[in-house]
């Protein structure tokens, strides 16, 4: 009997939570699915979605795939079950999410890619995409090097999480046709990290310094927090005047560029990415045709331009 | 050797030898067992009995010699093959999977032959009924008493249509009552034409129902004769290779005043247990396994939680909430299960001895190695523990020497009250006597001992006073020197009418 009472009590408690959970929902139900909310850019984007959603007529719930591709596709089908009208997603793996998106499209959901975009034939499974172009990000970084070292230079590249789409795109953009290919910039060494982890970037940089020493004139590191580690490694080794280029334009990148430790940060504008996504979804709901891919321009923070921008919120 | 033709023999062991690295465990052992007989094998630990049995059952392979079982020469056998051939063995450490049911255990590894679960249980029921065992075949083995487990083992042996059943010290954890039951079944099996090899330390049993006896010593079969041709002393002399005057030393002589009083311990298994212990006394607990003997001392020692528990030493109440309190109050404990509760087998002799006296050789929480070193050496010497060095793992030592290490561990802090739970279990005759002498010395030095043993002669001959325990209660108090054994037994079995 006591046990039964306990079970009932817990059940009732969960009911309250349940009733609270659904709340009053006059607005359109939308979901933002992030690949990993332990990643600061995505955590920031999630907050921005919740903040700006209502002004575009959406009530946005956020879901976290916790870095697991498998969970990501499960959340998509879960969103179908919950009758969401719109999903925005920033997946870990743009290929692996496709089967789940097929189901979402069949169920009539509006699918918007965020800070990522489907490629080739897969593109038909999303309605729109709002993203910085990571390929372009890599190219922009390459151009900074070419501009700064007109006579060529030897540099090292330190990649983000091995296998992560942004890491792949940035690497390909940097080394590809519109990147350093054909220029005098020579990459001495490229290594990707196991995670987007500062200490791993730092350890790789330390080993690179031992190996190449003063040969290293510049470093392309795929994310600004990684650049923090690179800066520490360079300082500890007494390496000066290193030309460090990072991507993200977050608080770390902003401060490092301002202090001169980092030369350039290719900044992504997540707030405008969020607003654009919401606008596109609103248009699509209203029956308008929307472009398949909207590029959110990246901003280049360097010594001269950085003071024109406010400190980023993330 | 009795003259018998080969066709009368169930098993004929000829010149079997086995060498382990550094030890010649068996040296040209020859034993014949006649069909339908109960053949006893006695010998001290390390005499080679267990090695021989493991060779017969196929766990070990012999180095040389021949074994003919039921007219068939056996070579390179496995446990399963020997069982199928009709040779079953019941080990000292029972051979059952405690997480599985009775029925499944009987047909372990033969699930398919029994046509699944239902078949196993049905057949198991039949077998258990044939030995008058009523236990539910669906019950988990972990819920059974030792004697019931033994019955399950016997049923398992019968399930193979065994022609020969080897019992390796089956009685070591049985009570007298259960032993009587076992004796009955052994006789019953013999009548059915099943031969039995019965290994034991307990000469009473050997004389009670064995037809023939082989004495083993140091890897040799010393002598094989019909039981009737042996005398008790004869057998003991042959076992130890020397004459032992007495099995037991005289009891401690000087018993003083009350040292400890225990008032009304109650636990799940115990009901209002009170008793006193006097200085210089050996107090024996007599009762069936599971009657609550061990539970009483565990509760006194603070190892189990108890209600209404009060221990008075020298008239003053001593709170004992855990073994640490007990140690401080002057208790020492030799636990029931040496390997599980007593020793850390991979650790050195020295560490095992110094375990209890850490406070004596440490200051401000720091160990003083120079003092600790003395402890191991001292106790090893004082108790003449046979070990190459105090640094070898205690697991390498024989049972008797291991037990001495535990005794030595406590002697180091000189406890006033020594609790000994089965102190001579699995220890050979020679070593037993040494333990008895130790007990006597402890008592005569002003200490007191609570002795628990399943070997009735041991308790009766060593104790100044015995308490009988039945179903968690103390049912009687006796002076074993003047009381008839059957009176004490009757009390321990919970009989109201105690025969005069």
């Amino acid at each position: 009997m006591v046990q039964m009472k306990k079970i009932l009590a817990i059940g009732l408690a969960m009911t309250v939570v349940g009733a609270f959970g659904i709340g009053a929902q006059a607005k359109v139900k939308a979901a933002f699915i992030v690949s990993n909310q332990a990643n600061e850019s995505q955590a920031f984007s999630a907050r921005e979605f919740v903040k700006y959603g209502p002004s575009y007529g959406f009530n946005v719930s956020t879901f976290d795939a916790k870095g697991d591709t498998q969970v990501e596709s499960e959340i998509v089908t879960n969103c179908i079950a919950q009758n969401f009208k719109v999903i925005f997603l920033n997946p870990n793996d743009i290929h692996a999410i496709v089967p789940a998106l097929m189901k979402a499209k069949q169920a009539g959901l509006i699918v918007g890619m965020f800070s990522s975009y489907l490629q080739g034939a897969d593109q038909k499974w999303s309605d729109f995409a709002a993203s910085s172009d990571d390929l372009l990000g890599g190219q922009l970084a390459a151009q900074q090097f070419i501009k700064h070292f007109p006579n060529g230079a030897t540099i090292v590249e330190i990649g983000g999480q091995a296998g992560h789409n942004a890491q792949i795109q940035r690497h390909d953009g940097f080394n590809g046709d519109k990147g350093i290919k054909g220029s005098n910039i020579k990459v001495l060494d490229f290594k990707a990290c196991q995670q987007w982890a500062t200490d791993q970037a730092q350890a790789i940089m330390e080993d690179d310094i031992v190996k190449y020493g003063n040969q290293i004139q510049g470093v392309f590191v795929h994310w600004d927090n990684g650049a923090t580690g690179v800066i520490q490694a360079a300082k500890a080794a007494g390496l000066k005047n290193l030309y460090i280029v990072g991507v993200d334009g977050n608080k770390a990148g902003y401060v490092q560029v301002k202090s001169g430790d980092q030369a350039v940060s290719i900044a992504q504008d997540f707030t405008s990415m969020v607003k654009t996504s919401l606008q596109l979804a609103k248009d699509k709901l209203a029956g308008k045709t929307v472009p398949a891919f909207t590029v959110i321009p990246q901003i280049i923070y360097d010594k001269n331009t950085v003071n024109n921008y406010p400190t980023p919120e993330w | 050797m009795s003259a018998s033709s080969d066709s009368e023999l169930i098993i004929s062991i000829r010149d079997v030898s086995k060498t382990f690295p550094g030890v010649r465990a068996l040296d040209k052992v020859s034993i014949d067992v006649r069909k339908g007989s109960v053949h006893g094998i006695v010998g001290e630990n390390g005499a080679g009995k267990s090695t021989l049995m493991k060779i017969l059952s196929g766990v070990y392979q012999k180095d040389s010699g021949t074994i003919v079982f039921d007219g068939e020469q056996i070579e390179g056998t496995t446990p399963q093959q020997s069982m199928k051939r009709g040779l079953a063995i019941i080990y000292q450490e029972l051979n059952l999977v405690s997480t599985m049911s009775v029925g499944e255990n009987i047909f372990l590894g033969r699930f398919k032959e029994m046509k699944g679960m239902r078949g196993s249980h049905a057949k198991a029921r039949e077998l258990l009924d044939s030995i008058d065992c009523k236990v539910d075949t669906h019950k988990l083995v972990s819920q059974l008493s030792v004697s019931l487990k033994q019955m399950v083992e016997i049923a398992k042996a019968l399930s193979f249509k065994s022609k020969l059943i080897i019992m390796d010290e089956p009685s070591s954890s049985l009570t007298a009552e259960e032993m009587a039951e076992l004796t009955k079944i052994i006789r019953q099996l013999r009548e059915q034409g099943i031969s039995i090899i019965y290994i034991s330390h307990k000469l009473d049993e050997i004389f009670e129902f064995c037809d023939t006896v082989t004495v083993m010593r140091d890897g040799h079969a010393i002598d094989t004769r019909p039981t009737l041709e042996f005398t008790r002393n004869d057998m003991i002399t042959k076992m130890v290779g020397r004459a032992i005057e007495n099995e037991y030393p005289p009891r401690p002589a000087k018993v003083g005043g009350t040292l400890m009083e225990v008032r009304s311990i109650t636990t799940r298994k115990l009901k209002d247990v009170s008793f006193t212990l006097r200085e210089g006394e050996i107090l024996g607990f007599v009762g069936l396994v599971g009657a609550g003997r061990t539970e009483i001392v565990r509760a006194v020692f603070g190892a189990d939680k108890a209600r209404g528990h009060s221990v008075f030493i020298g008239g003053k109440r001593v709170p004992i909430r855990n073994p640490r309190d007990a140690k401080r109050a002057g208790f020492g404990l030799i636990p029931e299960d040496r390997k599980l509760q007593g020793l850390i087998l991979p650790f050195s002799v020295e560490t095992n001895i110094s375990m209890a006296s850490m406070d004596n050789f440490s200051r401000f929480g720091f160990i003083r190695r120079s003092l600790e070193k003395g402890i191991g050496e001292r106790q090893v010497k004082a108790l003449s523990v046979k070990t190459p060095s105090v640094r070898v793992p205690v697991g390498n030592l024989s049972g008797g020497n291991q037990q001495k290490c535990i005794v030595g561990r406590w002697l180091e802090i000189a406890p006033k009250i020594f609790i000994m739970d089965e102190p001579t279990k699995g220890i050979d005759v020679g070593a037993k006597y040494e333990i008895y002498l130790l007990m006597k010395r402890i008592a005569e030095d002003g200490g007191a001992i609570i002795l628990i043993s399943s070997e009735l002669p041991e308790v009766l001959n060593m104790s100044n006073r015995v308490l009988t325990i039945f179903e968690g209660r103390i049912t009687g108090e006796f002076d074993p020197a003047v009381t008839a054994v059957d009176r004490i037994m009757a009390s321990a079995l919970g009989m109201k009418e105690v025969p005069a």
Partner: protein
């Protein structure tokens, strides 16, 4: 009261199936919530989502019942998933899948060799093996996700059969098969005997080495099978799917009531353990609980279930 409770078969089931009370609480609780939890779509989706982990758990249960454990399944999962796609252009779809499964069996064989034959600590050696395989997966793909080019491949996991998702059907079949294997075959009962008491099983003439070894081989094979299904479900093979999978699955199996000590538990328990995790995820998403709180709750639930189980055992031990 105590007696009636003990003899009550329902209580018996609840004590054996440790995750069941928890599942019941969720099911009852959700009755009162105004979410779309009780829709056929969601219930099937929940099963569908849990299927990969369930299949992994079936294999792992064999090793845990036999007194081992297998933490290399995460590595096997990713490598076999990648193989089943990478080999497609070379040999066609079905042979590629077969190769992937054979690979899993092989790794299981090596695990079995190390754990059973060489008597290495299973926990640590399979952990190392999982790490090794993660590296192999990255090397195989150059850390790029590898999409399948054959459209039929995707339909294996994503198709339906009379409205039932294929994955759910496959899981059900594997559930019945493995439950039968554990309960009604000589091999299964031998596993229980080995986990219950290794030496006794050996003396009883059970070929302990071969049987336990086979458990590891099957666990590897099941993990590889799950790996190919996962690749089909996502239509992609990648090195980053299996990071925490091994721990979560082993944990789910234990939460279900299959003891790490061996010899206790079984497939139904493991299934409920993993299902409880899947349901918890689903319920938390339904109730719109935010990500960090979800993580917190999940950790708390794992601690709570194992705590309650240990506590019940402690109470039993110490009852006065």
């Amino acid at each position: 009261m105590v007696l009636t409770l003990r003899s009550n078969p329902l209580v018996g089931i609840l004590t054996k199936q440790k995750a069941l009370p928890f599942i019941l609480v969720m099911l009852v609780g959700m009755l009162f919530s105004k979410t779309r939890f009780y829709t056929p779509y969601n219930l099937l989706d929940m099963l569908n989502s849990s299927s990969i982990l369930l299949i992994l758990a079936f294999g792992v249960t064999l090793t845990i019942v036999a007194g081992g454990c297998d933490l290399s399944i995460g590595g096997i999962l990713v490598v076999s998933g990648i193989l089943s796609i990478k080999l497609q252009p070379v040999m066609g779809m079905w042979p590629a899948i077969l190769c992937a499964i054979v690979f899993g069996l092989l790794i299981g064989f090596v695990n079995g060799f190390l754990v059973v034959h060489q008597k290495t600590e299973p926990f640590i050696i399979t952990l190392g093996m999982g790490l090794l395989l993660t590296g192999v997966a990255q090397q195989l793909t150059d850390a790029h996700p590898l999409p399948s080019q054959i459209s039929d491949f995707m339909m294996i996991s994503n198709g339906t059969f009379y409205g039932l998702p294929n994955l759910v059907i496959i899981t059900l079949v594997l559930f019945l098969l493995s439950a039968w294997l554990m309960r009604y075959t000589q091999f299964g009962r031998n596993l229980y005997a080995i986990g219950g008491d290794y030496e006794v099983a050996r003396y009883s003439g059970i070929n302990v080495i071969r049987t336990k070894w086979l458990a590891f081989v099957l666990s590897g094979g099941t993990a590889a099978f799950a790996g190919f299904l996962l690749s089909s479900k996502l239509n992609t093979g990648s090195a980053i799917y299996g990071d925490l999978t091994a721990l979560v699955v082993n944990c789910g199996v234990v939460v279900g009531g299959t003891s790490f000590a061996g010899g206790i538990g079984g497939i139904p328990q493991s299934a409920l353990g993993l299902l409880a995790f899947g349901m918890l995820d689903n319920v938390m998403n339904m109730l719109d609980i935010t990500s960090y709180i979800q993580i917190l709750l999940k950790g708390a639930v794992i601690v709570a279930i194992i705590w309650l189980d240990s506590f019940a055992q402690k109470r039993k031990r110490e009852a006065i």
